[in-house]
Symmetry: C2
Subunit: 481 residues, 2 copies
């Protein structure tokens, strides 16, 4: 990271600007596209830079799912009641510790508008509900549960509603989302320059961001941003040094979600220009085990043979609780009726046996910890109850039919997908804030370059959700501040 000092240049180092625009957007993922659209709609002359060979970024590789609610047309069409207030209650309960109300409040209040804006800009959603349990799927329904809204403890905190709004496509949902947004950018006549990497921000003596130094295939060029510069350049999961320094617990996860350009350059540019990065330890950690959801009938235990969460929780909650609180050691204990190979990734069996005692012994769990756990679980399961962790009744049945197996969910052997959630501190207008709480003049950001609506307690769609939402706001702010 020692190059960071050079990520900021003084105005005096620029003899003359090679290019100029009103609003310069750095990164052409979902946040950048939305920033460009709103800046252009506000009358600004906009230029988008993308360091990769083509636009789309990590958004184009994603599941195309946006966390939206409050009573969208799709929610209504599928028969679900929702309100901004219930959405707010869920997010304030789930997205902590210390959820950022300054971002969550407007995000919920304007979510219906945002959905309609996306539709107007060509993002297709089919008004149909996917009944599965919020894992990747290959049909094209437009709505699903993408968090833990309908399971314990959140079902008691806020009225559950599915808020995962999925771009309509059977396979490449994220690519389809970006096809729409980038198509809208093209329609708006906003140029996107690819293979153009922003290597430094140029600042005035008073700290205002004036433009950027950009490495392009035609050489290094200086670009003046007359009104503002917007950083929408992804997170830092592919920067080994930053992860080790800021978010060491995330290193245990095998699967990094993103592109190699999620190397934190956007965050580092913002830091170099005087912005503050917050909650840099945070990440989304998803345990990718389901589908099939039949496996949720199993008993998830830590290395002490104890349950620690309802097994029907969202994969992000399962992953976080396992990696952050159980030191990444977990097993799913199944019986012969429950066990099935997961559809998405291979698994390893940590133990098989004719009795739970054999499983316990094979896992090295001191007796009778696992036997007690399973017996207590079964005692209530015959009544389809789970008084300890409140798993939904439809997943609760006794684990009693030999043989038994323990699926190895230790981080080194299972599929935990991870990306970073910490980043630049922004206000609700997408303005990058210094540690003082004051905006860095001329600098804006959105998406995973920022710390957004969620710290821990991720629900799917919150990154495309806050990236598009605050991307738009950053675009408007940059054009009009």
């Amino acid at each position: 990271m020692s190059e960071l000092g050079r990520l900021r240049r003084d105005e005096s180092e620029i003899s003359s600007w090679d290019d100029a625009c009103d609003v310069l957007v750095v990164g052409a993922g979902c946040a950048g596209a939305c920033a460009a659209l709103e800046a252009a709609a506000s009358g600004a002359d906009v230029l988008v830079l993308e360091r990769a060979g083509g636009a789309g970024g990590t958004s184009a590789l994603s599941g195309g799912l946006l966390y939206l609610g409050g009573g969208t047309a799709i929610q209504k069409a599928c028969g679900f009641r929702d309100s901004a207030e219930e959405m707010f209650k869920y997010m304030m309960a789930a997205c902590g510790p210390g959820p950022d109300e300054a971002l969550i409040r407007p995000y919920c209040e304007h979510s219906v508008d945002h959905f309609e804006w996306l539709v107007r800009h060509g993002v297709p959603f089919r008004p149909a509900f996917f009944e599965g349990a919020h894992e990747p799927f290959t049909s094209d329904e437009g709505l699903t549960y993408s968090g833990s809204e309908h399971v314990h403890p959140f079902d008691r905190i806020a009225r559950p509603a599915p808020r995962g709004h999925i771009t309509q496509h059977r396979s490449s949902k994220g690519a389809r989302l970006m096809q729409s947004l980038l198509g809208a950018v093209e329609t708006a006549c906003v140029p996107i320059r690819t293979q153009a990497r922003c290597d430094a921000l140029v600042t005035a003596p008073d700290g205002r961001v004036l433009g950027a130094v950009v490495k392009t295939v035609d050489g290094v060029r200086s670009v003046r941003a007359r009104r503002g510069l917007i950083l929408t350049a992804g997170g830092f999961i592919f920067n080994r040094e930053m992860v080790a320094s800021y978010a060491p617990l995330l290193r245990a996860c095998k699967a990094k979600v993103g592109t190699e350009n999620d190397d934190g350059l956007g965050i580092r540019l913002g830091l170099a220009a005087g912005g503050e990065a917050i909650h840099m330890e945070a990440g989304d950690i998803s345990l990718v085990l389901f589908p099939p959801n039949q496996l949720r009938q199993g008993v998830l235990v830590n290395r002490a043979g104890q349950r620690y969460v309802n097994e029907d929780a969202y994969m992000g909650r399962l992953g976080e609780l396992t990696v952050l609180r159980q030191e990444g050691d977990a097993y799913l204990v199944c019986d012969n009726e429950i066990f099935v190979r997961p559809e998405l990734f291979p698994i390893e069996l940590a133990a098989v046996g004719e009795t739970i005692e054999e499983i316990e012994s094979a896992l090295g769990i001191p007796a009778p910890a696992l036997q007690d756990t399973v017996a207590a679980y079964n005692r209530h399961a015959v009544e389809r109850r789970d008084p300890l962790f409140h798993k939904g009744a439809h997943y609760v049945k006794p684990v009693e039919t030999a043989p038994f197996a323990a699926i190895d969910l230790r981080t080194e052997n299972a599929m935990y997908a991870v990306f970073t959630l910490g980043g630049l501190h922004i206000d609700a207008g997408g303005r990058v804030l210094a540690a003082s709480g004051e905006p860095v003049p001329g600098l804006y950001a959105a998406g995973r370059t920022t710390s957004g609506v969620v710290k821990q307690g991720y629900s799917s769609g919150m990154s495309l959700g806050d990236g598009t939402f605050f991307g738009r706001r950053a675009g408007r702010s940059a054009a009009t501040d």
Copy 2:
């Protein structure tokens, strides 16, 4: 925090300097005193500012215990073997996640020298070992276990040695420490100006810190620091807004450790001058329940009636694991042989009963979770074994003699003492680093204004330890860089 922009002033705002010195030290706790001593010993003209009415800071209110080792004279006199390498192994295992090797390595390698330096500067240590279990005590022995070195899992990772070196005094150990250090400062003819609050750092156009704007009883004065300025102004546990923003989980704890001047001003000054603050979420959280250690024979459980740690772990480890991983919900289940009122603070009983089943029911733990936990514990306890969490055999006996009680250790009802551990990023020379990894020219820091040798996994004495150690280094660096 919105005043932070004004915490930095341009050189051009200072028409002429009212005062000047080579090295200006902001804060007269242990780190500031040691910084002043080493800067003066390096030939610098030093001035110390203290915003309170007298010097000493939080250090003077502390237990006067420093985490030192590697084979100090006191360790040897008490018959304990230690080495820098074993100390390093313990700290790298305990002080994570992602322990800062750049600080821990020199801290361990030079710990014996540092101990001798403290002795030379008048800090008294009596070569006697306190056998208790590293809680506050009122005798005057000089050595004790102040962490989890001798308990699971650390006893398997590094050869245990007690490293809590306690300033000799029966009651006011911290005050005695500061009496020595401040006496040495006086002997070195370094002036300490009290009621002098540093309100802003003055920087040159290239970012170098040149001096400070200081509010004194004689009005606002500008002080030039010709060689360097050292921030040793404490942590931020008494800044409600900073804690809410950076370290929300710490809010649950009732007892804040520090003075009202631990309001983060030093950190904010450093941020305003371009430094980076790291690991701002981290804190020491101590569950103050013992002595008497007899209570460690109880069974510590979470709201699901599960054990989660060996009850003989250090109070900082018990506190952290309870607040950070168990959502602050815990109970200590005792039988009639174990139960006794703690010596230091009153407790509340969450339940009493003739059977564990009654306790379980009164706590609202679904049967048979707690009964299973206690039965499994007792099954091994008859052999004085704890295969699940490896509590030391001398604390392991069956919990079986009615009546039973559950001590309420939920954060709202028990004594958790907390202070912040995050702060400015420094190198091993006490230089404040920008996010680039490059030093901010002219700026140094130590103590709880910085992120030091420990993030989580606190052992007592690590704050006075790294404050004095890196305070000295900051003083030398500022005088000689």
